[in-house]
């Protein structure tokens, strides 16, 4: 097979389109680049949707933690504690088995036993908890003068939140939130190693990298390819986050020092 044929056969293999059997013999570099890249689609899928949905829950949770009412504050605190205090790996396992047993009683929940929905749901809750902690810190760091000025202008309730509190919180929390986004994308590689089955060998980038490492007995090719893809992905996130950062800070006169990304491996 030429490389172009391999690309045609495997580029969308992670979605179930193309060649049915994974390459068994004569594995070339082209196979590895194509298939691991194909798996990356799942990482992007999990990361993007979990972040997108998690953002709203995170803001809501951060606000609930500020609340004077224990009814709102306590659940929010517990939610953050449970998801930040335990390994995501164990959360995946537990959630999968929980969804399996719920399935008998509530057939409507059966999609949750698949990685595409179940793991996404766990990632959504997980990132919401981590982001809520970031936004919680940012809310507490909002300068009191800003809020007092808002009061002086007669802003209150929803308008005060939308015009003052929310944008300031976002601006202050943004660097940490960018890190969280990067970690979340890294964490998506755990999905197919934690109970959720890969239907018809449709897996993420790490799933295929491990497949090749097991098959060829040579870890020095697939894992660096995977690393390369992820570094590109990470740079993409940083670039995007930088654009948003610039927009959030556009009213500020001074440009702060260059923001440096921080990486964390595991959560």
């Amino acid at each position: 097979m030429t490389c172009w044929e391999i690309v045609q056969a495997y580029a969308l293999r992670s979605l179930g389109i193309g060649e049915r059997l994974l390459p068994q013999v004569d594995i070339t570099l082209c196979h590895q680049f194509t298939l691991i890249g194909s798996g990356l689609l799942w990482n992007v899928y999990f990361g993007t949707l979990a972040l997108g949905a998690g953002f709203f829950l995170a803001v809501a949770t951060a606000l609930a933690r500020q609340s004077r009412h224990a009814v709102l504050r306590k659940p929010a605190e517990w939610f953050v504690f449970v998801f930040r205090g335990s390994p995501l790996f164990i959360q995946f396992f537990f959630a999968y088995f929980l969804f399996l047993s719920l399935r008998g009683t509530f057939p409507a929940l059966s999609p949750l036993t698949s990685a595409a929905y179940g793991a996404l749901f766990v990632l959504f809750l997980n990132t919401a908890a981590y982001s809520a902690e970031i936004f919680h810190g940012a809310l507490q760091a909002i300068p009191r003068g800003d809020l007092e000025a808002a009061d002086a202008y007669g802003l209150a309730g929803w308008r005060k939140f939308r015009r003052i509190t929310f944008p300031t919180m976002l601006r202050l929390g943004w660097p940490a939130y960018t890190n969280e986004a990067i970690f979340l994308f890294h964490a998506t590689t755990l999905v197919f190693f934690s109970g959720f089955p890969a239907a018809q060998q449709r897996g993420d980038a790490l799933y295929y990298a491990k497949f090749f490492a097991d098959r060829t007995f040579n870890p020095f090719v697939p894992y660096p390819i995977l690393a390369g893809y992820f570094i590109l992905l990470t740079l993409g996130i940083i670039a995007l986050a930088g654009l948003i950062q610039r927009r959030l800070n556009r009213h500020l006169p001074a440009v702060p020092g260059p923001w440096r990304p921080r990486f964390r491996l595991v959560r």
């Binding site: 047993s101 755990l190 190693f193 790490l206 007995f217």
Partner: protein, 293 residues
């Protein structure tokens, strides 16, 4: 008592069930996890210290090495590193031994899908008893964890060393201390308070990374939870039950929550102790609180 579990009442049945040899192995695996944490933390700290010193070095190549170590390990995702290092370390060690012990070997080491070194270079030797194979496997996992977390620790310590006010070192040098003396007597003792928040955070992350041992092939708590929780058919066990995996993993979840909570409390105390009397915001808050009381 446990000879005929089928006729026991529920409470006794569980007492017997939870003390089978298989369960004892499960409990032992918690020891494995704690051992991993206990061994990895100091080794990673040591590696991190070395990395931070290298990154600060005035010799450019050494500084590049230190910074490269930090950047490479931290820039690449997650478990990919764990999966990679365990194989790479093993093959690397055997390759080195192969070069050393079997210089006359003519066949290529990597043949298609196989990695073949001479029998004398195998690690552990094929003749070694099983426990050596297991210890070797665990040691590889510890080294892998230490390398990855060493890079994180290096980053934290590098930052902490930079955070110690320059005036402190300049004063030390003005008193006639050499560079090394100033480093040892002034910089290192002072940097810990700056490093502690970062190191605490790292410890939490290390705890939460420990179940990844499962992926490195060590029979850890995740392995046993899956094995014990699985449906058991009466022909092969005295304690048949359905799919209990959910409950076993719930137990693991609670175990980890307790472990991180406990760490949080202990580290909070240590931080309070360390910031006492320091000319930092934390120390200032403490001082005021005490003055007010």
């Amino acid at each position: 008592m446990c000879d005929d579990p089928a006729n026991l009442d529920t409470l006794l049945w569980f007492v017997c069930y939870l003390t089978t040899g298989k369960h004892l192995a499960f409990y032992g695996a918690f020891g494995t996890v704690l051992l991993l944490l206990a061994v990895t933390a100091p080794v990673a700290l040591l590696l991190g210290f070395g990395g931070a010193i290298a990154a600060r070095s005035r010799l450019a190549p050494v500084a590049w090495l230190g910074k490269g170590y930090i950047a490479v390990v931290r820039g690449v995702p997650d478990i990919a590193f764990f999966l990679f290092f365990v194989i790479a370390l093993d093959q690397g060690l055997e390759w080195l031994r192969h070069q050393w012990l079997c210089p006359d070997w003519t066949e290529p080491v990597r043949q298609g899908q196989n990695f073949l070194v001479c029998p004398e270079a195998k690690l552990p030797l094929a003749t070694a008893p099983q426990w050596i194979h297991e210890v070797y496997g665990f040691a590889l996992a510890v080294v892998t964890f230490a390398i990855v977390f060493g890079a994180f620790a290096a980053n934290v310590l590098y930052g902490a060393m930079a955070a110690v006010p320059r005036a402190q070192i300049e004063t030390a040098e003005a008193y006639g201390m050499t560079h090394a003396q100033a480093f040892r007597r002034v910089l290192v003792p002072q940097m810990w308070v700056y490093a502690l928040p970062g190191l605490s955070n790292l410890w939490m992350i290390l705890i939460k990374a420990s179940p990844l041992l499962f992926l490195l092939g060590v029979r850890d708590i995740v392995y046993w939870a899956r094995e014990l929780g699985a449906t058991q058919t009466p022909r092969f066990t005295d304690y048949p039950h359905g799919d209990w995996r959910m409950w076993y993993f719930l137990f693991l979840l609670v175990f980890y929550l307790a472990l991180t909570r406990l760490s949080e409390i202990v580290l909070g105390r240590v931080m309070r102790r360390l910031t006492r009397g320091q000319a930092m915001a934390g120390g200032e808050v403490q001082r005021r609180a005490e003055a007010a009381a």
